[in-house]
Structures are given as structure tokens and as C-alpha cells.
Amino acid sequence: MTEEALAARPCSRCDRPIDGCELCEDPGCRVPICYRCLQVALGQAVPQPHTHGG
């Protein structure tokens, strides 16, 4: 997979474009997750109606 293709991969939970997986930082991660979704998954934050601003 090219570097551009890796960079364009979205968060596996919210589809937001991210630079890389917040958890494992592996460029080949099959289930990349953004910081916000990681916080929600761990119970640190609650899902917001407007996930990324608004």
C-alpha cells in the first residue's frame, strides 16, 4: 500500500480521515482508530451528536 493510500485511511469507527492509528501507530493497522473514538471506546468520553465539531 502506498504512503498516500495509508494516509488517506479513515478511522474505522467514525470514518474521519486520520494520519494513523492513535492506538498502535502501525501504518498497516487493519482497524485504525482516531483519538476521539479511542476515548469513547475506553469510556473516557461520551459520543457527541456532532462528532467532530459543530
Binding site: R30, I33, A41, L42, G43
Partner: protein
């Protein structure tokens, strides 16, 4: 200037006593191994690797004198050039988790992302222990689906 006032989650993150039914569920801080070897930034990798192996470990947490986590040395890093300084070989700024994170969710995430181990730290970054995936998955399986977040928060850093 912002003065941070410690709250309920910081109490939990410090590993202090809790009560209630939710307190009975094992969490990251309960399962993390507190006897994990540590190393300082300026040490030679060869000496650290020898010490870690002698202690029966394949990972080591890099901390400062206040035990604030700076990096992680997993098996791959420990096998690097023994002449390197620890700070040259370590994985800097590893993902860390607070001690109150649900062990079930954490085991799932560590499995999905192929993480063999992750440091557990307090809110101010001080090492609590190293959570190994095999320990997390074993406890999660014993719980058999119990032990979710249960209303208390988790935390990654």
C-alpha cells in the same frame, strides 16, 4: 493560566480505594504487572537487555527518576545494537492507559491492534505497571463478558 484540579477520575487513576459493585470488576491497574523492569534514558541497551532477560521479561519501561514514562522497549528494541543508549532505541511516547480502564475493552483493543503490552500510568504519567495482552485476555475471558465500563471512565494517553 489554568490550574488543573484533580477530580474523581484522578482518584481512580491513582489506584486509590473505591467501593460499590463496580469496584469489584478487575481493571487495567489490577491486572498490570507492577514488577516490570524499568530503565533510564542514559543507560546502555546491552546492560538493560541483560537485566530484563535475567528478570524473565521481554519488555522494559523507560522512566525518569519520578517514574514518568518516556518510552518502551519491547523485544524488538531490546534486540537492537547493545551499544545504543536507551533513548536511541526506545519507542518514545507509547500509548498508555489509566488504571481504571475496563480490562474487557482493553483486551479487545490490544488484540485488534496487535499490542503485546502497554504501560498503565496515573493521570500525571507515572508508571503503575505494564499490562500484557495475555494477562488482559485471560482475565477478560474469565469474566466472560462481565466487567464493561460500568459507568466509570477509562482513559488512554
Amino acid at each position: 493560566m489554568y490550574h488543573y484540579a484533580a477530580g474523581k477520575l484522578d482518584w481512580l487513576a491513582a489506584g486509590l480505594a473505591t467501593e460499590g459493585s463496580n469496584a469489584l470488576r478487575p481493571r487495567a491497574g489490577d491486572v498490570a504487572r507492577r514488577d516490570v523492569p524499568t530503565a533510564a534514558l542514559g543507560e546502555r541497551l546491552g546492560e538493560v537487555a541483560e537485566r530484563v532477560r535475567a528478570a524473565g521479561w521481554d519488555a522494559c519501561v523507560v522512566v525518569n527518576p519520578q517514574r514518568v514514562v518516556f518510552g518502551l522497549l519491547r523485544a524488538k528494541e531490546l534486540a537492537a545494537d547493545p551499544g545504543l543508549r536507551v533513548e536511541e532505541a526506545m519507542r518514545p511516547g507509547p500509548s498508555t492507559f489509566r488504571p481504571y480502564v475496563s480490562i474487557v475493552e482493553l483486551a479487545r483493543l490490544m488484540t485488534d491492534h496487535g499490542l503485546e503490552s502497554s504501560p498503565v500510568t496515573t493521570s500525571d504519567g507515572r508508571l503503575v505497571g505494564l499490562l500484557r495482552r495475555r494477562d488482559a485476555t485471560r482475565v477478560a475471558e474469565e469474566l466472560g463478558g462481565e466487567g464493561g465500563n460500568g459507568g466509570e471512565g477509562g482513559g488512554g494517553g
